[in-house]
């Protein structure tokens, strides 16, 4: 327990110092990418998208794929995936705009 809390507290400090280093011009991409990062909860969603053991007729335990837990998990996987793919893609799109471009000739 104390190990997880240690990691938690240290990670907050790391986050604090790293985020202060982010240039204000990139605050919108920062929010988009942190959205993608917090969608790491997809790991939790995947762990729930599992077969549930049920008692079969011959008193054997079998795994049932479609059950209330796996359906909830799969919906969570879906939601988190929207964020992961959408978050990284929209961040990449924005950062592309910030890239110094070669001057186009006009007229």
């Amino acid at each position: 327990m104390v190990e997880t809390i240690t990691i938690f507290v240290l990670a907050i400090f790391v986050g604090y110092y790293v985020v202060w280093g982010v240039t204000p011009a990139l605050h919108t991409p920062l929010m988009a990418v942190t959205n993608a990062l917090s969608s790491i909860i997809i790991v939790g969603a995947m762990i729930q998208t599992v077969g549930l053991p049920v008692l079969g007729v011959d008193a054997n335990v079998q795994f049932q794929s479609i059950n209330v837990v796996s359906v909830l998990g799969a919906i969570a996987v879906f939601l988190a995936s929207i964020n992961i793919f959408g978050g990284f893609a929209v961040t990449a799109r924005m950062l592309e705009m910030f890239k110094p471009k070669q001057k186009k000739k006009e007229g």
Binding site: T23, L26, I41, F85
Partner: protein, 481 residues
């Protein structure tokens, strides 16, 4: 395959480090693209590892859900206009919140089902199972209620930012007691669930948390949305960390903490830029408390201001040596960024120095203006933050304010009675000439009149931001040839 399962924590560690590098990359536009890629790699590592960690995963459901999510997410990411980024980000926060709630519910039902089946039976069949401890229940309860609040609050913020009709700002004396009541009831059911494991309490707690998210954010006004969006960003991180504690997964904890502190810092920056405390923003109502006496002070004295045409303004600017453009929410609303860029380019061709000045709370989310200008191809070096440009205003010939109001209100500097007194502003009033593009003389979000508009040096140009800027460009083109 056993290998991956045995060393899963190591893979998650690599992922966590890459996540830190992702944020580190955002210190500059050049390193940011690589940083974003680190994030993608980290996510891929985490997802692949989890396939081996999960106990009897239903692969087709997971992969199917991922593909569907990818289609929806990428389609949205490709097509969303940059002016709609604030509401898009709010919507994304809501998805994280909802996912956290669903995971918490699934985890509890999962636990209950296994308990029903009996640990002995499971053990006899070689399935390892540990009933959730009190600590786990507590962590789950935290993850669930933070997720639930994030979900409904973000949905409301989305509605507000997208100007949906259902997202009505609520106000009145009943709001605070109701907020307090719901919050206390939520905690009460949460504690009862924690002590007794009663599912009824769990459902009640979740429902109340959902309700609380809504009534909590609904009284906050549109101008304060940058703070709210940043704060919900932070919340989505804490929800992920909460789930990470339940699963004892360090990568979730690290990622959640990074996002949590990122959002907290952004909220702090936004609050500081408005000279308000977070408590004031969230529980002070829509600035109504402070602004009401001013507005209610009877009929206001009709004050004189000077208005001019876009042609005159264009002429003045083309004859200036230096022009500073101050964009605000009005530029986003009028989708004027491309027209503004055309104007800036034309002025530059005429030998005028053109720069942009960005206030931290300009727009509806942190960095909103920067993204719009970047989209319109305005060079990164031409865009300056408040602290960088403020000392240059006295030597500036023309300041062009486009749809900004409170961020250039001199009352913040010299009127101690003003509700925004003490807020740092862009000192546009120090320039030789000020031009303000506005739809009308209506007040800004703070509901305050702006002395800048009545300044002798100020010329008001009324109309739609895009139209006016285009007219200015035309006028300069006309005189130039």
């Amino acid at each position: 395959m056993e290998f991956i399962r045995d060393y899963a924590d190591w893979f998650y560690l690599i992922g966590a480090v890459l996540f830190i590098l992702t944020l580190r990359g955002l210190s500059g536009p050049k390193t940011a693209i690589a940083g974003n890629r680190y994030g993608m790699i980290a996510m891929a590592i985490a997802v692949l590892t989890t396939f081996f960690v999960a106990d009897h995963p239903v692969i087709w459901m997971i992969v199917g859900a991922m593909i569907l999510g990818a289609i929806v997410g990428i389609a949205r990411a490709r097509t969303v206009p940059m002016t709609q980024m604030p509401e898009t980000v709010a919507l994304m926060h809501s998805l994280v919140g909802l996912a956290a709630v669903l995971i918490a519910i699934a985890a509890i039902i999962h636990n209950n089902k296994l308990v029903e089946l009996g640990p002995e039976l499971l053990a006899a069949n070689g399935i390892s199972f540990h009933e959730m401890s009190k600590v786990h229940l507590f962590e789950l309860f935290v993850g669930c209620f933070v997720g639930a609040i994030t979900f409904t609050a973000s949905v409301f913020a989305y509605g507000k930012l997208a100007a949906k009709k259902w997202a009505k700002t609520i106000s009145g004396g009943w709001v605070k007691p109701v907020q307090a009541l719901i919050f206390i009831a939520m905690l009460g059911f949460g504690i009862h669930f924690f002590l007794s494991g009663s599912m009824t309490s769990f459902w009640a707690m979740t429902a109340l948390a959902l309700a609380f998210g809504w009534v909590w954010i609904a009284p906050v006004g549109g101008g304060d949305m940058p703070v709210v969006v940043s704060l919900l960003n932070s919340f989505s991180g804490w929800a992920a960390a909460g789930i990470g504690f339940t699963l004892e997964n360090n990568m979730l904890i690290v990622a959640g903490s990074l996002v949590g502190s990122s959002g907290a810092i952004l909220s702090y920056i936004m609050c500081k830029a408005m000279n308000r405390s977070i408590i004031n923003v969230l529980f002070g109502g829509a600035m109504g408390g402070a602004a009401a006496p001013t507005a209610g002070a009877g009929e206001q004295v009709q004050r004189n201001y000077r208005s001019g045409s876009a042609d005159d303004a264009g002429f003045l600017m083309s004859n200036a040596d230096s022009v500073v453009i101050v964009p605000g929410y009005g530029m986003a609303q009028g989708r004027a960024q491309n027209a503004v860029k055309e104007l800036a380019n034309l002025l530059k061709e005429q030998g005028v120095t053109v720069r942009f000045a960005i206030h931290p709370v300009a727009g509806r989310m942190p960095g909103h203006m920067n993204v719009l200008l970047a989209e319109a191809d305005v060079p990164y070096e031409d865009i300056l933050e408040m602290d960088e440009i403020n000392s240059d205003f006295p030597a500036t010939d023309v300041v062009l304010v486009i749809g900004a109001n409170d961020v250039v209100n001199p009352a913040a500097k010299d009127d101690p009675n003003s509700p925004i007194y003490g807020m740092p502003i862009l000192e546009a009033h120090k320039a030789r000439t000020i031009m303000v593009i506005k739809r009308s003389m209506a007040t800004g979000y703070a509901g305050l009149d702006n002395d800048l508009f009545y300044n002798d040096k100020t010329m008001m140009v009324f109309g739609d931001a895009k139209k006016v800027v285009e007219d200015m460009t035309k006028a300069i083109n006309g005189t130039g040839h």
